[in-house]
Symmetry: C2
Subunit: 436 residues, 2 copies
Amino acid sequence: VLSAGSRLPSSRVLAQDVGVSRGVVSRVYAQLAFEGYIVIRQGSVPTVRAISPVESIGVDREERTRLRYDLRAHLPEVSTFPRRLWLRSVRDSLGQAKDADLSYGDPAGLHELRAEIAKYLSRARGVTVAPEHVVITSGSTHSLSLIARALLRRGSRLMAFENPSHYLLREIAHAAGQEIVAVPVDGEGVIARFPARATAVVVSPAHQFPTGVTLSPERREDLLAWAAETGSLIIEDDYDAEFRYDRAAVGALQGLAPDRVVYMGSTGKTFVPALRLGWAVVPDDLRDDVLRELSLTVLQVSGMDQLAFADFLRRGEFDRHLRHMRDVYRKRRDVLVAALGRALPDMPVRGIAAGLHVVLEMPSHEIAESVRARALAAGVAFETTAQHTFSGYRGPAGLILGFGAVAEPGLEVAARVIARVTEEECAAEPAEESAA
Amino acid sequence: VLSAGSRLPSSRVLAQDVGVSRGVVSRVYAQLAFEGYIVIRQGSVPTVRAISPVESIGVDREERTRLRYDLRAHLPEVSTFPRRLWLRSVRDSLGQAKDADLSYGDPAGLHELRAEIAKYLSRARGVTVAPEHVVITSGSTHSLSLIARALLRRGSRLMAFENPSHYLLREIAHAAGQEIVAVPVDGEGVIARFPARATAVVVSPAHQFPTGVTLSPERREDLLAWAAETGSLIIEDDYDAEFRYDRAAVGALQGLAPDRVVYMGSTGKTFVPALRLGWAVVPDDLRDDVLRELSLTVLQVSGMDQLAFADFLRRGEFDRHLRHMRDVYRKRRDVLVAALGRALPDMPVRGIAAGLHVVLEMPSHEIAESVRARALAAGVAFETTAQHTFSGYRGPAGLILGFGAVAEPGLEVAARVIARVTEEECAAEPAEESAA
């Protein structure tokens, strides 16, 4: 209703007008500012922003926007998306496409894309697979939704999830009709201790979300032994394994037990979220059910995107982009870890040198939540470990700090904000021992 | 296993080798030829084809491929897809996209596309709607799947379908957990006679599939009255209403009762199947549940395709393409109807001058099925009414003849093949009265 640039009443005036405390108005204004509806500047009244509230923060906006940094862990950098090279792939692939490629096709996806994905998985992730085992989906959300429904159709209705693990994965499985059960995670990754009824588990072995650990070799063996003995299925969520900064990424589990592992990968974090493309490598006996679910929910994935991405992969541009982003993210991670180390030398930073986030361990979930809320009010957004735990989690508390979408200067500022509110919260609440 | 160009044994030799009748081998070869695996030429042995078996048939292949016409009703012409104009929309929209458009966005779709769809629906289909009510999906399969699951979540678990109606729609709803019940269709469209438990019905008022009739004004009133009285939902599948050849298309039901009708449209038949884009106009009280299902199944629809299609709509190119295709399809329909009239003057052709198919009425389902199987063996593919009926259908039998993907010369040949096998089948079986 209010046009861009409109001046809002000061918090004092509005509090009087509507008869609430000034603190309430301030918190509402802070939330509106964070959501992008208004701009708050010290010493002047808030004004209405001109931009759309759903925009996220690009690097080039940081100068203009006072303290507004989105460190949520799922966000990659999008300003580096190679628009010109992508357009070339769209142009050339569309120019060369057969008419048949523009009509209804194989629900598993374009054969040429599946062949390119198979080659890519072999060189990048140690996954050896025939194109026939690759199913093109619109991302890992889609893959997991299809797998969960296909399992349900086979009478398998209890899925285990790492605790903690991304809450959205559990919501996807639950919406697909699955019951959910927790398996614990420690510094070596998931502990293969499952209830007898569980016939599938979703894991992130290369880079556990959110703890940031890698599944140890012994635990890999435990997990594979459980799957082999019980005939269960391991669903491997390989969401960001392309980004490992200190060594080569560990190979995917899928390569060790192709008939017991469904592998899920996508372009969301490694390339660009708007391109809804992902892939699942599906064992033979589950493939027909997965394709049936795909046909009866979306019929098939966008052929335009598939054609272009096949060309992009074939030219080596995807690998080049990953190498470039590995450099970008490694530097961002180094800057964030160093800034946190300087500002909060007693708070440990957890997680291997990989992916798009680190975890800053906190003395308690209560302090973590207070820090999160106060940092958000100050324009720094991130999630906490507690937001991803369920079912009697007893591990450490933490802040999940994503460095994917914020450039180095912003990470420095964000680290200072986080340090300030953390110190204030720790001073306010007498620190208790963490239940780690 | 066999490489392209490999020569296969003649039907006589293979029949001897494996010890079956020559007729069995001939039927197998005919099926393989139709599926695109082999080429059969009079007077020489079959050879293995070089092309992928999932390819469908483009116009420019007709010369090269002996008698192979795909008259399945869901197939549009893809050779006329304006690749150059589409590429311009990809280029310009990608050039102008904000970084935020490339990141995670609103699950309902890009606002600018929803605004363009709202304008398009208003000018083309008499649907008046705010962009906020439009949900971008990956097509009508996706829309129906989301709606069926959203209804289930609200405890509504019995959906009525027209009898006959496209079998795939019922499979989608069934896979989403809905029970299915039939409502009869006659020459005026669906008869609003529902079991008390049914709280939703899927209808195709502008051009009923497959019968090809339009819902009469009286029946529209009956249907809307039922929905208003019982608080039920009408799901309007507007799959090809853009193609009406004799007059302006009837307006969508949605315009008459926006709070009781979910409207579904898509680009699959009107533009190009490979672009997985559709839209649902969803009443307020169902919107959150539909968006939740969308988020937990595909997260969001491809942003690349959305950006380009918004540009394509804004430039008026979509409307221009529809006008062009209306001419193309009207001519094809005229040719097919005339050819059938000449070759089979006693068999009525049903369906209004619209869409991508007509129905050739048959004396019985048995004759229709024999004609379908024999035409298929001769390289002419189509479906029958019986393939889309369920639950005690008692209406007329027919062949559903699509003219979308086959040019005029092919339609002439196909009509002659259909006429020949129909006459032979009718002569073989003494014609019984149809149960119409």
